[in-house]
Amino acid sequence: MSILVNKETKVICQGITGTQATFHIRRSLDYGTNVVAGVTPGKGGETHLGLPVFDSVAEAKAATGGTASIMYVPAPYVKDAVKEAVEAELDLAVCIAEGVPVKDMLEIKAMLKGSKTRLIGPNTPGIITPAQARLGTFPENIMQSGNIGIISRSSTLTYEAILEVNQAGLGESTVVGLGDDLLIGMDFVDVLELFHKDKATKAIVMIGQSGSTFEETAAHYYKNLSRKKPLYAFVAGNAIPFGHKMGYAGEIISNGYVSVQDKKDALEDAGVIVFDKINDIHTELQKL
């Protein structure tokens, strides 16, 4: 078992004919991911990497039964790409692009509300279930199958977390990179909920960082869970001083100056095991 994607998941790639998509889809196919189709407007009818290419997500879904999309489209086109995925009622859309405008994300978040589609990203390495499905840019060679779920706001620290799990002699059930743009699709709570329902996941590692209140929201959710799986957390950004910004509106929104220490305190108070150094995680995981 796993969450969101497994070897059965039929994957459509939006923007498949681009350079990055070609590089990563080839790797995902080699990894065993069940990619069934590609979409590039204007290139419908062609074949790329041995896959049929369609003009729209709706056509690709109708022809192949795809339920998840991995999009390698550039930032300015992300809004339209997500719109297609939502209108085609896909279960999952994974957006890799960095630099999606905030206003576009506000519109995307409004589109997602009440829709069937879950969005991961943007600006994320995506999602990977070891030995089953790779949607994004994860370095698949470092993955090991196992029963630890990983959720992270930071792309690079996701890899660090994977290495910690491996070093503990364990492996991953599914790894989800949330992305760290101002606005993101799924957040910690959404993924924590899925990991708690997943029988194959025995424990969860979450990686947060300074800014916003996503960690506090996660702490609140976890605290109120009746059945908790062990949760291990690292929050980066302790050494960054405040300042270097304009105005106060951002701080007011998040109810004051939320420091990394505040986040750690909130998580600890909720029963989460919190680390000061990310490279200490494996020693604690070994006790599992």
Binding site: H24, L106, P139, Q209, T213, A239, G250, E251, D276
Partner: protein, 400 residues
């Protein structure tokens, strides 16, 4: 991207928001000329234009600039000249600039507006709710700087819809909260809708009017204004991109921005090259826990151009604060071998005279390590982040 007060005011005035009459001056003579305009009767306010809030309570590093802050009310045209002369070229420090402060390259000369009350208004993105929120606060006995820290929950929050105006009942709520007279109702509606529309049409990430003044007539006027724009949306706003003030950024920051990398400077001695903000934060945390500070970090993000990466690495190598370099790359989207090529190309151009520790993980890691080993350069390779930090500190101590 941030802009100056006078630029922000001009934009807001295009959306129907009232601003005091004024003009921007780069010399004391220009300042005096602006004050002499028939539309400006005085007294005047001489306002240092740096991209920071809390300028009034700031101080200048240079003694010659005088002991007053960056916002000065003056009563004679002669004093407009004198105060402008004092502030221009001086360095203003505020709670938002950090101790280094920011240089004042121009001042804004404005008519002093008589008001019977003031309030704070701001719009920002609520990341958890994924909405725009209008923030309104009374400013009776406290500055917003204090309220934001001590009692942010007292601030009125109005969720805004992306494609609709502020609703009449929301305007009424603000009117009641601020205890404004009914004759300000129309002015308030124009004011909040102006902020909202400017935010959306210009792809802002933050707009702040701190304070807005309420005149006896009921009129509402923006006494100050700040706007931050979404860097990722600048491609659709050529008019805004042109307002960028390079004077506010260091030479190295500008170079990094050219390649779309992020670059930040601090007070320590280690230069970090990373490919994500998270890994940068974690590396800084780890260095600090071992008593070593960070001089700067460069985030090359998902960079795929070898030459750009080399240029980025050169920025770090040429920062005089840097006594050791830590390169920590976790390749996914980014391929490690491109970084290795970049290191060699940068080193061959500017030389490598401080210890350099590299840690690669992920996409094309082995290939990257081979490239560095073949080069015969004194580069130390580590397997984990902590090992990299330890080896760097050791090498820095040896080279002292």
């Amino acid at each position: 991207m941030n802009i100056h007060e006078y630029q922000a005011k001009k934009i807001l005035s295009q959306y129907g928001i009232k601003i005091p009459k004024g003009g921007v001056a780069y010399t004391p003579t220009e300042a005096k000329k602006i004050a002499a305009r028939s539309s400006l009767r005085g007294p005047w306010v001489v306002k240092a234009q740096i991209q920071s809030g809390a300028r009034k309570d700031g101080y200048f590093i240079e003694k010659a600039a005088g002991s007053r802050g960056g916002i000065r009310i003056v009563k004679s045209r002669k004093d407009v000249f004198t105060q402008t002369e004092k502030m221009l070229g001086a360095t203003l420090v505020t709670v938002q600039t950090g101790p280094k402060g920011k240089p004042v390259s121009r001042v804004y000369i404005e008519n002093f507006e008589k008001v019977i009350g003031t309030f704070y208004a701001g719009i920002a993105v609520d990341r958890v709710q994924a909405t725009l929120t209008l923030l309104i606060s009374r400013l009776k006995d406290k500055e917003i700087t204090q309220i934001a820290v001590s009692n942010p929950e007292q601030i009125l929050r109005i969720p805004l819809e992306l494609k609709k105006e502020v609703r009449p009942e929301q305007v009424q709520k603000i009117l009641d909260y601020l205890k404004l007279s009914p004759k300000s109702a129309k002015a308030l509606e124009i004011f909040v809708n102006g902020l909202h529309k400017a935010f959306i049409e210009k792809d802002a990430t933050m707009i702040e009017v701190n304070p807005a003044g309420v005149k006896k007539s009921g009129e509402i006027v923006a006494l100050d204004a700040k706007i931050s724009f979404d860097d990722n949306a600048l491609y659709r706003h050529k008019d805004i991109s042109r307002l960028k003030d390079d004077y506010e950024n260091s030479e190295r920051e500008l170079q990094a921005a050219k390649y779309r990398f992020t670059y930040s400077e601090f007070d320590g001695s280690v230069g970090c090259i990373v490919n994500g903000d998270g890994i940068a934060l974690a590396a800084m945390d780890l260095l600090r826990s071992k008593g070593v500070g960070t001089a700067c970090f460069l985030n090359v993000k998902g960079g795929v151009d070898k030459d750009n990466i080399a240029s980025g690495i050169k920025i770090i190598m040429t920062n005089p604060r840097v006594e050791g370099i830590l390169i920590n790359i976790l390749g996914g989207f980014l391929r490690c071998n491109l970084i290795a090529d970049g290191i060699l190309s940068a080193a061959s151009e500017v030389g490598l005279n401080v210890p350099l520790v590299v840690r690669f993980e992920g996409t094309n890691k082995e290939e990257a390590k081979e490239i560095l080993e073949r080069s015969k350069l004194p580069i130390i390779i580590a397997e984990t982040m902590e090992e990299a930090v330890d080896k760097l500190i050791e090498a820095m101590e040896e080279s002292d």
